[in-house]
């Protein structure tokens, strides 16, 4: 290869000059305090809010679009495109008054945009993974299953600035649900013109604080301030760049080297080093999620309550949180984490306060009653999806079960295989996790309903539980609704179809010069509130 050709290919000199210019430019921007660099920990599957399903996508699309309601820095629901609303007596009809606002290309944003968007996400051909979140809207499920036309949806534009939404039942979490990306408006006038290419930087039109300028797959997504955003005056940052690198250890090094301002979700095994060296930057906060082991109650001997109870009692949650994880996770004795809206105190297992030694004794007695002795020990397989943390926990749990004479075989599989097994009920005890989509106990407890299907991994089925949950669904009174769900959870905590292990925490690294990043239980952070010092 000749020298000239070589240079042409590599473009060394040009690249070097470009790099210098770029370095100077970024330095300039950094001085102006404008570009926030976020490690969002995953390549977005899409930037179409109807097609995404992950938290790493929410960090990006959540500042490109604003729904009827939106989040404050603490992730509470506040008015978004809707300035105000009224709720009917029965809690089933919402009427929203929309503010005057436009899309980033200047086209007015009207109630019809919301009608179009909610119909679009529910159309079967959109194939939206998260469409079921809107099933609370009248007609939604039928449309999504292809049984009804899109215009049968209970979302109507009364006029350009007034939108009416009818629900199938009173859902006190509805205003919060509307902050979710499934309820964002999308620009009909652009999608009609360019189809699925509407998320390309040259086409994309948004209504939120930032708009797309660059998207290089597996590198970065860059957003810049949208001058047409209705509250643009409150937005300080000029740009936000999301680096999609997944490797936690590598991202942590970039953070240390000052290449990243905010790194979402650092690796747990780094906690000792971080606490010692970067205590101010290390942010840990309770997170609305539960790490649990479903037990397959449809197969013997796990259909025996005594066996399930013995297994659950023998798990020393405190040891797992304090000795294995060490990142401040909360030991879980209930399915719903503490601090969920209108459900302050979840129903816990009754033996929570029993000393661990006594729990072991009782667990042994229960197993003996169920027919398992030292000569004929209980043997089981514990499945988990391949990950260092899951492995450490599984090893710890297996050794705890050993104390009560249970022989545990550990079985790990890659994530797709693991969840296919869970879906098919092909397991005895397995690892699972759940992060809430909205701040409501129902979002956890519905997992144990018979009608839930594949997400009810352990195939728990208790008619009384189902009845209580159905009743809660149609109850508008918040206190009463909370009580019904509490009763349901109490039933589940007596039947023990699952072993709750711990409640999640969010783990982020935030540089000292980042102001306005507030820890919150949903770990949702809108960059429009963030500034750089």
């Amino acid at each position: 290869m000749s020298e000239k050709r070589w240079q042409g290919l590599f473009g060394l000199k040009k690249l070097f000059c470009a790099a210098c210019v770029f370095a100077v430019m970024t330095a300039g921007i950094a001085l102006a305090g404008g570009n926030l660099r976020v490690a969002s920990m995953g390549e977005p599957a899409s930037l179409d809010p109807h097609k995404v399903s992950g938290t790493w996508e929410n960090y990006i699309v959540g500042d490109m679009f604003v729904g009827l309601t939106t989040e404050d820095p603490k992730s509470n629901a506040i008015p978004g495109v809707a300035e105000s609303w009224t709720i009917s007596e029965d809690g089933k009809t919402y009427t929203f008054k929309l503010r005057q606002s436009t899309w980033s290309d200047g086209t007015p944003l009207t109630a019809n945009d919301f009608v179009y968007s909610m119909q679009r996400i529910l159309l079967p051909e959109t194939a939206a993974e998260y469409a079921s979140l809107l099933y609370i809207i009248e007609g939604a499920e039928a449309i999504n299953s292809g049984k009804a036309a899109a215009d049968t949806l209970g979302v109507k534009a009364i006029d350009d600035q007034t939108l009416e939404v009818k629900l199938t039942g009173p859902a006190p979490y509805f205003l919060e649900l509307l902050t979710h990306y499934t309820a964002y408006p999308v620009p009909k006038h652009v999608i009609d013109k360019v189809g699925k290419d509407w998320t390309k930087p040259e086409n994309m039109v948004v209504n939120g604080p930032f708009k797309l300028v660059e998207w290089l797959p597996n590198t970065h997504v860059k957003l810049t301030k949208n001058d047409k955003y209705y509250d643009v005056g409150a937005v300080v940052l000029d740009d936000v760049t999301f680096y999609t690198q997944e490797d936690r250890a590598a991202v942590q090094k970039r953070f240390r080297a000052g290449e990243i301002d905010v790194a979402m979700d650092f690796a747990s095994d780094q906690i000792d080093w971080l606490k010692a060296n970067m205590p101010e930057e290390t942010r840990i906060a309770p997170y609305m999620g539960v790490y649990y082991y479903p037990i397959n109650s449809s197969v013997a001997p796990f259909n025996d309550l005594r066996v399930r109870k013995a297994l659950s009692m023998a798990v020393n949650r405190e040891a797992i949180c304090d000795k294995v994880l060490k990142t401040g996770e909360l030991p879980a004795y209930s399915f719903v984490p503490p601090g969920v809206s209108h459900y302050e105190h979840p129903a816990e297992v009754e033996w929570k306060s029993m000393p661990y030694d006594e729990r072991i004794k009782e667990a042994k007695a229960l197993l003996a009653e169920a027919g398992f002795t030292a000569d004929k020990p209980l043997e089981l397989t514990l499945k988990y999806n391949t990950s260092e943390n899951h492995k450490r926990i599984a090893v710890a749990v297996a050794s705890m079960w050993k104390q009560i004479g249970v022989k545990t075989e550990l079985y790990n599989a890659e994530v797709k295989v693991h969840y296919a097994d869970l879906k098919q009920g092909n397991f005895q005890v397995a690892r699972a996790g759940w992060i809430a989509d909205y701040n409501d106990a129902q979002n956890f407890l519905y997992l144990l309903e018979t009608r839930t299907g594949p997400n009810n991994y352990g195939r728990y089925s208790n008619p009384e539980y189902d009845k209580l949950m159905l009743e809660a669904e149609v109850t508008a009174d918040l206190t009463k609704r909370g009580e019904l769900m509490y009763k349901a959870e109490s039933l589940a905590m007596a039947d023990l179809p699952i072993i709750p292990i711990y409640h999640y925490v969010s783990k982020n690294l935030v540089a000292k010069n980042v102001v306005g990043f507030e820890d919150n239980s949903k770990d949702i952070h809108r960059w429009r509130y963030v500034t750089l010092k």
């Binding site: 290869m1 290919l9 590599f10 060394l12 690249l15 070097f16 470009a18 790099a19 770029f22 390549e43 599957a45 899409s46 179409d48 097609k51 399903s53 079967p124 051909e125 194939a127 939206a128 993974e129 079921s132 499920e141 999504n144 299953s145 292809g146 699925k196 998320t199 390309k200 290089l216 797959p217 597996n218 590198t219 970065h220 680096y243 690198q245 997944e246 490797d247 250890a249 590598a250 991202v251 090094k253 970039r254 240390r256 080297a257 290449e259 890659e414 994530v415 797709k416 295989v417 693991h418 969840y419 296919a420 097994d421 869970l422 699972a432 996790g433 759940w434 299907g453 594949p454 997400n455």
Partner: protein
């Protein structure tokens, strides 16, 4: 020679067809599907998605549809990167991998051949032992150890180079990935060169060359290297294919937007079209590069005639 090339390319078609078929069905035999995940999809939503991606049809139907599509150059959409087609992803990632890979291979050939040749000429000297010792170490240290180590030393401690990131392909962002890619290749090529050069230097035609009274330099460069490099050339075919298609480890650690990741993450995600796309792409590269190697052989080795 033209006829030879055409014949070789012609015989590549059935090979490719077999590769496509085997890969297609192997992928489907693997347990777990593209849409199995922690938050399981409600059955009606899963049905919508399967329909949109044609996965609701019988497998043989899907296979024939797929073959029909790839003949028309349509490799389908990705299941994981919904806003891109497989072709988009490969076209965006390959130039990056190619650029890093060619740089790495070039460095590897220059350093590997030089070190290997000197080691062979000074067989059993201190230099020889040193180079071969280093080469063994280079082969033995995996890139997932080397890459974070380099990032830590040159990025975090010394702050000479960025820890990771692509930065639109700026030179300083390419240095560490290229070095990490090149190191094991340098090691391998230097060992190959040494072995083959030691053998060549003892062969009859070298003795003849020396007997003619040629200077040692000419003996080595003009006569010995030509023969001594043959194993290196045959190694370079598949090695180049492997290096220019990127490395999942290096891309993950240095955040390089190449195509190496798709070989692994595509399979883990059960992203069937992406897996098929990269398998076909890789097969074509291997076939093409092997042909190039055979043609170069014809020039280097008088015993080989390309017919």
């Amino acid at each position: 020679m033209f006829a030879y090339v055409v014949r070789r390319l012609g015989s590549a078609i059935p090979t490719l067809f077999i590769v496509v078929t085997v890969a297609f069905f192997m992928m489907r035999v693997a347990p777990g599907g593209p849409f199995d995940r922690e938050k399981q999809l409600p059955p009606e939503i899963e049905a919508n998605i399967l329909k949109v991606y044609n996965l609701d049809k019988p497998l043989h139907q899907q296979y024939f549809d797929y073959i029909g599509n790839i003949i028309q150059g349509d490799f389908g959409p990705s299941f994981k990167y919904l806003d891109f087609t497989v072709t988009d992803l490969i076209l965006a990632g390959f130039p990056v991998s190619l650029r890093l890979g060619l740089a790495a291979i070039l460095i590897a050939v220059v350093f590997g051949v030089t070190a290997g040749t000197i080691a062979a000429l000074k067989q059993n000297s201190t230099f020889d032992y040193m180079v071969m010792g280093l080469a063994m170490t280079g082969i033995a240290i995996p890139n997932f150890v080397m890459a974070p180590l380099l990032a830590l030393v040159f990025g975090v401690y010394l702050s000479w180079l960025p820890v990771a990131g692509w930065n639109d392909g700026a030179l300083q962002n390419q240095i560490l990935p290229v070095i990490t890619l090149a190191l094991p290749q340098i090691a391998y090529i230097s060992r190959l060169t040494r072995g083959s050069m030691v053998e060549t230097m003892h062969s009859n035609f070298i003795r003849t060359a020396r007997a003619k009274g040629l200077a040692e330099k000419i003996v080595v460069v003009r006569h010995a290297l030509k023969g001594g490099l043959l194993p290196v050339i045959s190694y370079l075919g598949p090695a180049t294919a492997a290096v220019i298609t990127g490395s999942v480890v290096i891309e993950a650690i240095f955040d390089v937007p190449g195509i190496g990741r798709y070989f692994v993450t595509g399979a883990l995600n059960r992203d069937y079209p992406v897996v098929m796309g990269v398998v076909i792409f890789y097969a074509v590269l291997i076939i093409g590069l092997n042909l190039v190697v055979d043609l170069i052989y014809g020039f280097l080795d008088p015993r080989v005639k390309v017919e």
